[in-house]
Amino acid sequence: GLLNSCPAGVASCPASSCPCRSPLSPRLTLLESVLLGPRPTTSRMEFSELIRTGQAQAELLRGPEAPPLRGTLCVTGHHLLLSPGPQATPDLWLLLLRSVDSIEKRVAGDCGTITLRCKDLRVLQLDIEGVEATLNIARSIEALSSLESVITSFPFFYRPKGLRLGDAWHFHPPERYYKRVARETNAWRLSEANEDFSLCPSYPRAVIVPRAVNDDALALTARFRQGGRFPVLSYHHAPAEPAGWVRLPELSPCPQVLLRSSQPLIGPQKRRCAEDEALLRAVLAGSRPGARGFIVDTRSAQTAKQARMTGGGTEAKAAYPGWKRLHRPLERGRPLQESFVHLVEACGDLEQSMDHWLSRLAGCRWLAHVKEALSTACLAAQGMEREGACILVHGAEGTDSTLVVTSLAQLILDPSSRTMAGFQELVEREWIQAGHPFQLRCAHSAFSHARPKHEAPTFLLFLDCVWQLGRQFPLSLEFGEGMLLALFDHAYASPFGTFLCNSEQERCLCEVRTRTHSLWSGLNQLKEQRKLRNPLYVPNPLALWPSVEPQSLRLWQGLFLRWTRPPEPSEAAWEKVWQIVTDQEKTEGSQPTVSASELQL
């Protein structure tokens, strides 16, 4: 309980005098104790206390298509295991307890049934011999799947073969991105003002800011923005030269920038902050002469105005000359979570009539949220690409819909973010390092009966938008649907440490980098590539302008109906595609001219 409420307090604390900003606040030690929980040495004991019945005979039903599995069921500290009898296949069936979203038990006669609804939207049924065993196993799963201590979670124990601890953790730091920006412009600098997370607890140690703004000014700006999230560079867009990929920094025609922040703490008194205004002025000055700026506020004008009553607000026109505000309300928080829950509910009903299905699909509004998110991202991207403007995106906290917009805008504009490595870097930089509170948002998925607190499928909304982009431009993304599904699964429950905690600060405290494996090193193993990559990828240096008409959007069946429809035909089809592409590469070797000229731009 403590862990859930504590970082949320940080995020939703608009008052600039919040005590948590001072580096050695008592809050930090409290945070530390909660995050770290009991020492690992005691944790094993704790697990064994929670396990009431170690073993039972059970039958597992995995949906209509897969055959049932019989064997000995076993609960361990992090997993549910089913080992089939000696006569059956030797494969061990394994479920990470962390991925259980809700559990339902029923007993009849001398056996019981447990229904597990998982965070990846799978529904499993366990038929267990013995009433006592059933109840005990259900209680054990319930207790173990809702453990809140980060440090005792499975990633801290997961030591797979073939991976080295510490690999890929330094794969995507902001420093790396800054090097790229510095090649294109010298208007920006890497600031380490947040070294001790004192300016902003949800930002990483290093951020990219206008060169003209010094660290002291940053500290003052941070006090004027909710949660200390002062405007930082999210993406520097240097339009591709017509000739191709060569970029000459000094000739770069008109570089545009995308920034993100949280809302300014205007408050009812209409406060202003000279440093904040100077920062945004410096942004325009660093761009081409006469450049204009647009502030994309992801709330409606009315909501933004109302936020003043609670200490927030939005930039006043007069205080920020050259900047124009645009309001594009995006759904977030509870309503978004409810939309997700309703959609998943609808997808689980196999008997419903067509009319009922279509009205539920319309009623849950999920695709409307996808459309809004995509079109706001297009708006931001278009502002940069076509208007040559600087864009600042923020909502209230700047950790949710803001990130959807900035990361999608980059995917639309930046060809390098559409590669396998580039996309990983984008997720790392714009979601994980940017302080999207994964632990709070992904604590529960669509099935949980628990009262939702801070859960919201913001990251899933982003992934769905990327999927739509990939469907509309099937050749332009290097990664395939498999990658997006993997990210969804791992964000909600993972043996890797990448999506743990809510911010870089928390991850540092938990020593996530040194004590867990990075998801990226797991995904970048050779054996995973066929599942994750798009066999048809051809680099495309142009911007991808998706159509946001509802006729062009489609329900992401691969995710929402992943477990209800048999996957075989499409999987076999993709296998065939891979085969053709591999053949193509072979024949290409012997006769390169044809296919190259056909497929290149």
Binding site: D355, C378, E387, D583, Q584
Partner: protein, 654 residues
């Protein structure tokens, strides 16, 4: 040509219906005897066949000119702005005449048109006699692809239905070819060659045909060799016939007995139950077999066998006032109802769907509630569901099935052909699909000319029954991406030509009419032209030998049905996706094969790649029109499209 007053108008603007901006293509509009052609300043050509035009509308004059909106049967909608009103008026009038659509708008004009080849109408709006329309005016009769007569004949002989029945395994010891309909005497809308149970004598057939609407008595549509089960088709039994029809009962028994593998058979009525019930209420004639037996299914399914007998006997006796024959005579027939709505419901359903999906700036909620209220996907689901019933009866019970609706040429054609498609992998090949269409649609008298409105007939006879069939097939290809030899482009191309009237295949309403029109001498068959372009229509993922695709068992759960964007928005270039995954894979696959076969001969293989048939003239107009090569060019050039976000930008710049 006498209808064309203006042949060329310059400075015409072409608007995109989904883009709100002023970004219009400027170009020149040409009017020819067969096509409307627009060439924009990029020299890109847009060809619109007059036969494809469903409606022309002249909107109120604007400052930039006179808007002309043309809606096509292949779901293309073009919006021109003609600078001068006079030109616009001329083109409008010419198109009205050339597309023969002047009357189609007058829905209050209901025609009772017998089988005649020429009709004259009174045009209500203008109040004068407008030129009469006849089959001979259709494009197919003037279309000349520069083939000689023997090539033309070979083209028509490409699909031979006798050969097809042989492939199925008939005639055999249980089924024979009947010559009863040799001169179309028994049934005008059936073909001459009909297969019936061997034990059904000619008097039985004649008797049965008199009992069935339009004489469409039960005949074989598909024979499943290994199960020895048959799919048969007919029309509804005639109402107002006071007595039972022994011959019809005999024929049904004969069909049942022709299947040694099972002692019972199914009769599938494809009409919705509520209609049947109201129909049943009006029937005095309880003696008729269908109603009598079916009542036990739909009145009370849970009723026990013995109660049922009593009940039925009582009902029959009361109503008919006479004794009821031994019930055992019918115990081998099981009745099944699958509710598919009639052609009128389908027509307005698609109309509603197109209205919704054609709206600019639609919200997601509007689209889905529109999809729901149109009912289109529900209808598609019902049609496919009926086919699944058929396939299950044949495969799991080895039972024969008799399918009928009212007249047996719309829903019956859909269900029989889809059922065969599920059962027999042959129909999932390019050639097999042509055979299937020839057999279940063309030969059995689906009224293509009336349903597609080739001539200006009764607008109430127009209905997208065949389009709906193609959509069902598309849904199957989506569910089984490896089970079909052909791709989506093939389906779209066939759809293109049921309306184009460029080839003779779909002209006329039945075989008799086609013979009278001498189509095989005066027009060309579509199929050889499609086969020539076979490469374009191949599915690269096709697995012909895969056992799991022997019989398709599609999942008809609601969420497997999707809006077919590529059919209803195939010409709306701003609605993505425009890159086709299948086409690019097909190209790769084709290249692989070519390179393996003949690495040396590079030139010859270049011709197989798309994008080379840019040149075309009307005379030798490429039947497989080059729409798809345009489409294919897109892969290599994922050119950023106009985003439908101008609104946002407009706000930003103001």
């Amino acid at each position: 040509m006498e209808h064309i007053r203006t042949t060329k108008v310059e400075q015409v603007k072409l608007l995109d219906r989904f883009s709100s901006s002023n970004k219009a293509l400027t170009g020149t509009l040409y009017l020819t005897a067969t096509h409307l052609l627009f060439i924009d300043f990029h020299q890109k050509e847009t060809w619109i066949l007059h036969h494809h035009i469903a409606s022309v509308e002249k909107l109120a004059l604007t400052t930039s000119g006179c808007p002309l909106v043309i809606q096509c049967k292949n779901f293309r909608t073009v919006h021109f702005i003609v600078p001068r009103e006079r030109d616009c008026h001329d083109i409008y009038n010419s198109l009205l005449q050339l597309s023969k659509q002047g009357f189609a708008n007058d829905t209050n004009e209901i025609l009772d048109r017998p089988m005649c080849l020429q009709i004259t109408h009174f045009h209500q709006r203008t109040g004068k006699i407008v030129s009469s329309t006849k089959y001979e005016d259709l494009y197919a009769f003037s279309y000349n692809p520069k083939q000689n007569d023997s090539e033309r004949l070979r083209g028509w002989q490409l699909i031979d239905l006798a050969e097809e029945y042989q492939r199925m395994g008939v005639p055999n010891s249980n089924w024979q070819l009947s010559d009863a309909n040799r001169d179309y005497k028994i049934c005008e809308t059936y073909p001459k060659e009909l297969y019936v149970p061997r034990i059904a004598s000619k008097p039985i057939i004649v008797g049965s045909s008199k009992f069935r609407s339009k004489g469409r008595f039960p005949v074989l549509s598909y024979y499943h060799q290994s199960k020895e089960a048959a799919i048969c088709r007919c029309s509804q039994p005639l109402s107002g016939f006071s007595a039972r029809c022994l011959e019809d009962e005999h024929l049904l028994q004969a069909i049942s007995k022709a299947n040694p593998a099972n002692h019972y058979m199914y009769v599938v009525d494809t009409r919705p139950r509520h209609r049947m019930q109201s129909w049943w209420a009006t029937q005095k004639d309880i003696g008729r077999i269908i109603v009598r037996i079916s009542s036990r299914i739909w009145n009370d399914e849970k009723i026990r066998e013995s109660d049922e007998k009593k009940r039925l006997n009582a009902m029959a006796n009361r109503a008919a006032g006479k004794g009821y024959e031994n019930e055992d005579n019918y115990s081998n027939i099981r009745f099944q109802f699958v509710g598919i709505e009639n052609i009128h419901v389908m027509r307005s359903s698609l109309q509603r769907l197109l209205e919704v999906s054609g709206t600019r700036g639609l919200s997601v909620g509007d689209l889905y509630s529109g999809l729901q209220s149109s009912g289109w996907l529900r209808h598609v689901q019902a049609v496919l569901g009926a086919a699944v019933v058929l396939a299950k009866a044949v495969t799991t019970e080895s039972a024969s099935v008799l399918v009928h609706c009212s007249d047996g040429w719309d829903r019956t054609s859909q269900v029989c052909s889809l059922g065969s498609l599920l059962l027999d992998p042959y129909y999932r090949t390019v050639r097999g699909f042509m055979v299937l269409i020839e057999k279940d649609w063309i030969s059995f008298g689906h009224k293509f000319s009336e349903r597609c409105g080739h001539l200006d007939g009764d607008p109430k006879e127009v209905s997208p029954v065949f389009t709906q069939f193609l959509e069902c097939v598309w849904h199957l290809t989506e569910q089984f991406p490896q089970a079909f030899e052909f791709n989506e482009a093939f389906l779209l191309q066939i759809h293109e030509h049921i309306h184009s009237c460029q080839f003779g295949n779909f002209i006329g309403n039945c075989q008799k009419e086609r013979e009278e029109l001498k189509l095989k001498e005066k027009t060309y068959s579509l199929w050889p032209f499609l086969l020539e372009d076979r490469v374009k229509y191949l599915n690269p993922l096709y697995q012909p030998q895969a056992q799991e695709f022997a019989v398709l068992e599609p999942n008809t759960v609601s969420f497997n049905f999707k809006f077919w964007r590529n059919m209803y928005h195939q010409f709306d270039r701003t609605l993505h996706p425009r890159q086709s995954v299948f086409n690019i894979i097909a190209n790769m696959n084709e290249q692989n094969k070519q390179l393996e076969n003949d690495i040396k001969d590079l030139e010859s293989e270049q011709t197989l790649l798309p994008g080379n048939d840019a040149l075309r003239t009307i005379d030798s107009s490429n039947p497989a029109d080059n729409r798809y090569s345009e489409y294919a060019e897109e892969f290599s050039k994922p050119d950023p499209a106009v985003v439908s976000l101008e609104y946002g930008v407009a706000r930003m710049t103001c």
